[in-house]
């Protein structure tokens, strides 16, 4: 008796079989929810459990409205009842709860109480609260792009997660792009112990969104089965009919603590605890069934007994189900990449016209868009008339491939990254390229989605691979100062689940980009923007060039010293090597890594064995930079071949100053490399 939507379901008029089916689902969900803490007490598992009790009405409605393999559902960590109502079995719930290998969410890799079934489009989502709203918008974009009218995305979250900025980005995007997504806020009044008045000024957080265009907002009683069912029915129908987003705000109560690590009696008084128990949705539904003679006490008891037996049988299967094996940890870190068979070492002998770095990128992007019609690209400034990206890398693409495949993104890096993750869930053939930010320096707001995306393949045990190439214009030497000079591979290469490449020349840029765009999994593609138009980085580029990941390239052969480098500094190293040769000091080998992850350790070790001296040069800071990883690898594997300590050259441990004198003082250059090389050669 709260929302203003058409009444399709009511205690008196709904078919009895359906009413009893709902009772079965509700009682099953509640039984599993109440059983969960026992597994922790017995040290079996389920060490994270966020009780669903009190959210039963809206969760039943979400689950019942979801159609497997048709719609997409993004449940959150309190959505046990949602997943049961969507059709997941007691066994599947318990396998996840106690983290068994048979867990359909991902074989016990994710935290307990994070129920999912990717096989049905019940997506496996993060614990970062509300983070999946961006993925929901991404799938919504795919549904719209592919013209599917009879499908909807349902994204569920607690009301406090709406305080996260990325939730606003997701809903703003769905509003702007008019995406068929139903966002459900389950409002139980608390974010763990933080009451909602400490989150936002409106008690009903959905009111914060009332100014959003194209967004239909519905309020309902999430504790009431019928109000919830009627509201979700209307929400889904409206989203499909209008092809626009809906926001459902469902008032719930949290009967238990936030989770098993929370003690709600520390901040809720007895009166509150009493009345939330009194408003138990399951008890209310049971009373209604009996009061209106829609079920007899015997019929309900029979269902309850049946559920008890169902849960008992599932429990038996659960505790005897195999655990995941320790050796399986390396499975599904990242998918096998595209096999670059045409150029297995990523080398060529083409002698045609030299192309600039930026031309190589532009032509490869276009070639791959012609090759795969399921390829998309978006980013800030990426397509407006003749402007194609902040540096014009995507020039002419929207004209050739249209606005559905090549389009601008809002100034919201997390949205760019998160919707890439989401859209790639729709279809395994989809390949997405994003300009992650105008400059690498502005990528940091997208970090939570970047990290999230690195988890997906492993967390789902290979069920979902985000097939994304993240391009970032990187590095300094353009007088850009602190916010147009950063090169951030030192931080980003620390994550498993993403490949990191950093070409120095046009041909490698083209070859690595092609391989990235044909591969499954995520690749971080770092572009040294100072080289986009630099003649020194221009090379002939075979039309079909491919560079495999993890294949370094000897850019200059030598005997006396190995310089390991990538990106901008490759060119300085080559200059330094030539000077040393001309001066008759040494014959230096320059090894261009091209890929940082995977790293071509074999090539590094082989070169060090030959020269017995090693120096690592990169533009990023020396302190905690990627060179430390390379140096440690050489020390571990090839220490006995070294005749001198390993040396590292890179940026000072400071930001990059805007003044050119400051910039030059911070960044590495040919002279600094020369000096360091002489020191190591003289050792």
């Amino acid at each position: 008796m709260k929302s203003n939507v058409p009444v399709k379901y009511s205690i008196k008029k709904t078919d009895k079989d359906l009413l009893l089916k709902w009772y079965h689902l509700l009682f099953l969900g509640r039984s599993l929810d109440e059983r969960a803490p026992n597994y922790l007490k017995q040290a079996i598992g389920w060490s994270y459990h966020a009780p669903a009790a009190g959210h039963d009405g809206i969760q039943l409605a979400i689950g019942q409205m979801f159609r497997k393999n048709k719609d997409h559902l993004f449940p959150y960590y309190r959505d046990l009842q949602t997943c049961v109502a969507a059709g997941m079995t007691a066994e599947e719930i318990i396998y996840n709860g106690i983290s068994r290998d048979a867990d359909v969410a991902g074989g016990g890799r994710h935290m307990s109480n994070h129920f999912a079934k990717p096989e049905w489009n019940i997506h496996n989502v993060s614990s970062c609260t509300g983070n999946h709203t961006l993925h929901a918008s991404g799938v919504g974009r795919a549904i719209k792009t592919y013209g599917e009218k009879d499908a909807v995305v349902i994204s569920s979250q607690g009301e406090s997660s709406v305080s996260e900025g990325y939730v606003y980005e997701a809903i703003n995007g769905a509003s702007n792009e008019e995406l068929p997504v139903v966002f459900v806020f389950q409002d139980n009044g608390y974010g763990i112990s933080v009451p909602k008045e400490d989150q936002t000024a409106n008690r009903k957080v959905a009111k914060n969104f009332e100014g959003f265009k194209n967004l239909h907002i519905l309020y309902c009683n999430g504790k009431d089965v019928f109000d919830s069912m009627n509201t979700m029915e209307e929400a889904v129908a409206w989203a499909k009919r209008e092809q626009k987003p809906v926001l459902v705000h469902a008032n719930c109560v949290r009967i238990g603590s936030h989770s098993n690590s929370d003690r709600h009696e520390l901040y809720r008084d007895e009166n509150e605890l009493r009345y939330v128990r009194e408003y138990d949705p399951l008890a209310k539904y049971r009373r209604l069934l009996l009061r209106y003679n829609r079920a007899t006490e015997e019929e309900l008891k029979e269902i309850e007994e049946k559920v008890k037996a169902e849960v008992k049988a599932a429990h038996k299967k659960g505790i005897t189900a195999p655990q995941p094996t320790p050796e399986s940890i390396y499975d599904f870190v990242i998918p096998e990449p595209y096999a670059a068979d045409k150029y297995p070492d990523g080398l060529h002998n083409s002698e045609g016209e030299a192309k600039k770095f930026i031309e190589a990128l532009n032509e490869t992007l276009k070639a791959e868009f012609r090759h795969n019609p399921d390829t998309f690209i978006w980013g800030q400034d990426i397509a407006n008339k003749d402007k194609g990206g902040i540096f014009n890398v995507t020039k002419g693409m929207q004209q050739e491939f249209g606005k559905k495949r090549v389009f601008n993104a809002p100034i919201a890096e997390d949205y760019i990254m998160g919707t890439a993750n989401g859209m790639s869930r729709y279809n395994k053939d989809i390949r997405i390229v994003v300009e992650g930010a105008e400059f690498a320096d502005y990528f940091w707001p997208a970090m939570e989605q970047f990290v999230e995306t690195t988890h997906e393949y492993w967390r789902t045990k290979g069920q979902f691979s985000p097939n994304i190439t993240v391009r970032l214009a990187s590095g300094g030497y353009i007088g850009g100062g602190l916010y147009h000079s950063q090169t951030i591979e030192g931080a980003l290469a620390t994550f498993p689940g993403v490949r990191v490449v950093y070409p120095s020349f046009a041909d490698d840029a083209a070859g690595l980009l092609r391989t990235s765009m044909r591969s499954e999994g995520m690749t971080l593609f770092l572009e040294p923007k100072a080289l986009y138009n630099a003649p020194k980085a221009a090379t002939p580029v075979p039309d079909d060039f491919e560079v495999p990941f993890g294949k370094a390239r000897i850019r200059r052969e030598g005997r006396d010293l190995t310089i390991i480098t990538y990106g901008n500094t490759t060119h300085f190293c080559l200059e330094a090597a030539e000077k040393l040769a001309k001066e008759g000091i040494a014959d230096v080998e320059v090894l261009d890594l091209r890929s940082l992850s995977p790293l071509d350790t074999d090539a590094i070790i082989a070169s060090v064995k030959k020269t017995s001296r090693a120096m690592i040069v990169h533009e990023d800071k020396v302190f905690a930079g990627f060179g430390g990883e390379v140096a440690a690898t050489i020390s571990e594997v090839a220490f006995e071949y070294l005749d001198a300590p390993i040396k590292r050259v890179g940026s000072a441990f400071t930001p990059v100053g805007f003044n050119r004198i400051l910039e030059a003082a911070v960044l590495p250059n040919t002279d600094k490399i020369l000096q360091a090389a002489k020191e190591i050669l003289e050792y």
Binding site: M1, K2, R203, N251, Y292
Partner: protein, 171 residues
């Protein structure tokens, strides 16, 4: 005149106290108390004039007992019947849905042809939004024990006087 049917939850505390004051003013012989928790269709049918006690719960909801009773009477015609609604709300802590329950009940009654009486002025209250608001009036009596307890007796007395007149009017 038939007895006024006063429907409220006998388990309630604040509402129960308010009802007792109203009965005193109306005269016990003129009233029949009905427990909304267990009310039947017959309880509803035997009256023409009603007082419904509808406090607002949570962020603007009916209490469970009303939610669970209304299906009993939802198919009845309310034509010719008069309803006076009152309910508690908290204008300070729940300003966005102050006495929404009164408004929700009024909508339910009016959709079925019943006449809602006993409108009161919104003057003297401070809130942001209310489903009970009709112009500068509430479609019932708003009582705020949490913040304006001292005004309750006076408000009840005036309201009872008003609804007595309404109940005694011919249809």
């Amino acid at each position: 005149m038939k007895k006024v049917g006063i429907f409220y939850s006998f388990r309630s505390v604040k509402t129960h106290q308010q009802v007792k004051k109203m009965i005193k003013l109306l005269g016990a012989d003129n009233c029949e108390e009905v427990d909304a928790d267990v009310a039947t269709l017959e309880d509803f049918k035997k009256h023409d004039n009603y007082i419904f006690a509808v406090p607002t719960w949570f962020d603007g909801e009916l209490p469970n007992y009303w939610d669970e009773y209304l299906p009993t009477i939802e198919d009845e015609s309310f034509k010719g019947k008069k309803f006076a609604i009152f309910g508690g709300g908290d204008q300070k802590n729940y300003p966005e849905n102050f006495v929404d329950g009164v408004g929700i009940m009024a909508e339910f009654i009016e959709e079925r042809g019943g006449k809602v009486v006993g409108f009161t002025s919104t003057k003297g209250y401070s809130y942001e939004d209310s489903r009970a608001e009709r112009g500068d009036q509430f479609c019932g009596l708003a009582l705020d024990i949490e913040n304006q307890a001292a005004l309750s007796n006076e408000r009840i007395e005036k309201w009872i006087t008003d609804i007595q007149k309404e109940f005694s009017k011919k249809k």
